[in-house]
Every structure is written in structure tokens, then in C-alpha cells.
Amino acid sequence: MTLATRIIPCLDVANGRVVKGINFLNLVDAGDPVEMATIYSAEGADEITFLDITASSEGRGTTLDVVRKTADSVFIPLTVGGGISSISDVNQLLRAGADKVSVNTAAIKNPILINEISERFGSQVLVISIDARRGRTASGFEVTTHGGRTSTGIDALTWIEECVSRGVGEILLNSMDMDGTRAGYDLELIRKVRQVSPIPIIASGGAGDIDDFGRAIESGADALLAASVFHFGIYRINQIKSDLHRKGFTVRAVESMSEN
């Protein structure tokens, strides 16, 4: 395979500002998502994800503005998630410059939304975001909402198969057991999902050590998302990529790093 594994930083945005901890020395404005996206792009990010955690509708308008400004200056793919529940939400985001949208709770409540989005805009714009946690369902992993606090009783693998048949293009697989632990991606979860998924998997939740990234690729991830390790400056994106390259994984080269 010649396709490179993607490294994707995720920025939590509320009311147009980045809300999780940011620890960069040379930032003019540490809360500006556009500036953060620009820096990550220059460091070799293969894609940027914004997760809109704004509660109010006024704040959502601000998010569209952030998407617009980012798409105007950062020429890599941009995925936006959080609170998307209608065709109109998707259309507005795509028109503002988003390339993909990720849908979570709204799809669980109303699975037909998946069909509607993929028929109208194509599978390739639709990422299903799944907050999976160990539970008593058939595969041992269940789908949760509200950041892992609420059980749905739905089996994660069953849900993934349904999403794929309804036309989803990609899976953002968040491990609620590993999220925030920095103890590594949930390799068992990734392996199980890989067995049933014919579409790309973005692994998320738990990245902490530099070796975690390669392990997730070996378990079947097509892309690796991380937030805090990048935001707190524990690792830089080009550092992760150089390390993966050295270990024999295929990544998109960044400056000063030859692929060959």
C-alpha cells in the first residue's frame, strides 16, 4: 500500500475559541483555532478536525466563521463535528469550507440521517463518530453518548455495520475507556472494528507515548487522531511522523524528512 497513514490533530472549539489546553511558546493568540490549524498544517498535519462543543446557536454561527477563515488559509482537509443534526447543518459547513462532517448522537437518535447525508453529499463527506466503551453487549464494546456517561445498549460493531450499510464513508472511533488516560490507543477495540469495517478507521483516545501511534496502525487504524499530546506540546506532529517513518510506516513527508 502506498497510501500514507494520516495524523490528525483535533481542536475542541467553543464560541469560536479553542478550549482545551494549549501549550505553545510562539502563539500570538493561544485560543485562536485558525492560528492553531495553520501551525499544525505547517508541522505536517494531514487533516484538521474541529469538534464544536458550543451549546448555543449564536456560538454555532461563530463556528461557521472559524471554518471559513481556516479553509481560506489552510489547504489540507478539514473535518467538523459536534451538534450536527440536519442536512442544513451539513450544507452550511460544507459551503463554509469543511470537507467532511462527523455525526455522532444525531445519527443514533435518527439513523436515517446517515442515508440522507450520504445520498445528498456523498459518503466521502460523512464520518460517523462513535464513543465506544467496554460493556455487556455482544462484542464487548457498546456505543455511549454524553462523553461515555450514557449507555445506549447498542453494540458498537452492530452499529458500525449498520452505519456502513447506510452509507457512511469513514469511522472516527473514540475509546471512552482510554480517552484522557494517555495510556495508548484501545488496540483491542481497533482490531475488532477492523474485522467488520470495509471503510477507513480513524483511531482516537489514549495517545500518550510516541510508540502508541505505530501500535494503532498495526492494529488496523488508517488514521490517528490526537488532541492533548499535540496541544500540550508533548509531541510535535513532525516528530511523530519522523518516528513512524523510521519504524517503516508510510507517512506523508514533512520538511527535512525524506520518504525514501
Binding site: M1, T2, L3, A4, T5, R6, S41, D46, R68, A71, D72, S73, F75, I76, P77, N91, L94, R95, A96, G97, A98, D99, E119, R120, F121, G122, S123, Q124, V125, G169, E170, S197, P198, I199, P200, D222, A223, R252, A253, E259, N260
Partner: protein, 201 residues
């Protein structure tokens, strides 16, 4: 002036901004006359092949592309905007195999890879005499697609990429250029490619 043909939904803003980086004036339009007069026409395209063709016909985009070719005015098709230039696609639409514009011979088929869509950055083997890829060496481009053309287009420069098997990543003919990847989302390499195309306008 570069016109970006607006014939449906999707992210046109990035294509517009990337084209503006060349210093050219850029307009997003669905107006036949404006799109015909422009020095360069960009035909983007996301979603299903059949849906794109339906949207394209609504703004007379099929006639527009044929007319521009007749007048030797350059056209750049991106992603599904490349695919619709071929004769047909295996991507069923309303139960039928949809027809394309037929500027290029051959059929668009499903990628034969275990994981589709192909989403991500892949390498492209471009011919040495390519204008489009001039100054771009060993760079990756961003792809998002499940279908692609595979038969080389005669009397044109064909660049191939591999995902499961080989497919056409780009075609350069006298007037029509087409890329399966998204140059507007491919960082510096993509901007260079758009600059190379626009310099020949």
C-alpha cells in the same frame, strides 16, 4: 480569469481560495456565458457520479465543457469533475449506469481495494514531460474517492496512482486537464499544481 463552476452542493470555497493563490481573478458561477468566457474553467465535483451529472446538466455544464473544448479553452476537472469527463460510471444511480460527458473514452469503475473510499495522501507517478506536475517531485496528493478511471486516455499525458490496483490520477490533454485527487486540499504541492495549470492559460 478562472471560473469555478457551481452546479450543486459541496465545498467550492477551498477550490476558489486555492485558485486565488495563483494571483488570478477567480469567480464562482453557474452562469453559462461567464463560465464560457473565462480563461480557465474549474469543474469540481463531490458525491455520486449520477447526481453530479444531473446537477451539471441543470446548468448546461455538459454543453459548456464541449463548447470550451471546441474553442480550445482550458478546463480542469477535479475528483468527480474528472470522472464525468469519461463515457460512463459503474457507480449505479437510480438503478442505472450513468453516462458521462464522453470527452475521454472509457468507463469509471470501483477501486479494487479492501478498504474504500480511499481517503488520504497518495503518491502519483507523473510522466517526465508533464506540465501539470512540473517542479513537483515525490509529493503526495489528497484523495477521497471510491471510483476511478483505469484505462489510459490516448493522445494525452496520463499519471497513475495505486490503491489496491492502478488507476488514473491525472490526465493532461491539449485543453482538458483532470485530476482524481484534490489539489486544493493537497498543501503546497497542490497549490503548485494549480499554479502550473493556470500559467498555461
Amino acid at each position: 480569469m478562472i471560473a469555478i463552476l457551481d452546479y450543486g452542493s459541496g465545498n467550492l470555497r477551498s477550490a476558489q481560495r486555492a485558485c486565488e493563490e495563483t494571483g488570478q481573478q477567480v469567480i464562482v458561477t453557474s452562469d453559462y456565458e461567464i463560465a464560457l468566457r473565462a480563461d480557465g474553467l474549474v469543474v469540481p465535483g463531490v458525491g455520486a457520479f449520477g447526481a453530479c451529472m444531473a446537477g451539471l446538466r441543470e446548468v448546461k455544464g455538459d454543453a459548456l465543457i464541449h463548447q470550451r473544448i471546441k474553442e480550445k479553452k482550458k478546463v480542469l476537472g477535479i475528483c468527480v469533475g474528472m470522472q464525468i469527463l469519461f463515457q460512463s460510471s459503474a457507480e449505479a444511480f437510480s438503478g442505472n449506469e450513468p453516462l458521462g460527458i464522453g470527452v475521454f473514452p472509457g468507463r469509471v469503475t470501483k477501486l479494487s481495494a479492501p478498504i474504500t473510499p480511499q481517503i488520504g495522501w497518495n503518491t502519483v507517478s507523473a510522466p517526465a514531460d508533464s506540465t501539470l506536475f512540473k517542479g513537483i517531485d515525490k509529493e503526495r496528493f489528497y484523495f477521497v474517492h471510491s471510483y476511478a478511471a483505469t484505462e489510459k486516455v490516448p493522445n494525452a499525458l496520463n499519471a497513475e496512482a495505486e490503491y489496491g490496483s492502478r488507476f488514473l490520477a491525472a490526465v493532461e490533454s491539449e485543453t482538458v486537464t483532470a485530476v482524481q485527487f484534490h489539489p486544493e486540499k493537497s498543501g503546497r504541492a497542490g497549490l503548485q499544481l494549480i499554479r502550473n495549470w493556470s500559467e498555461a492559460l
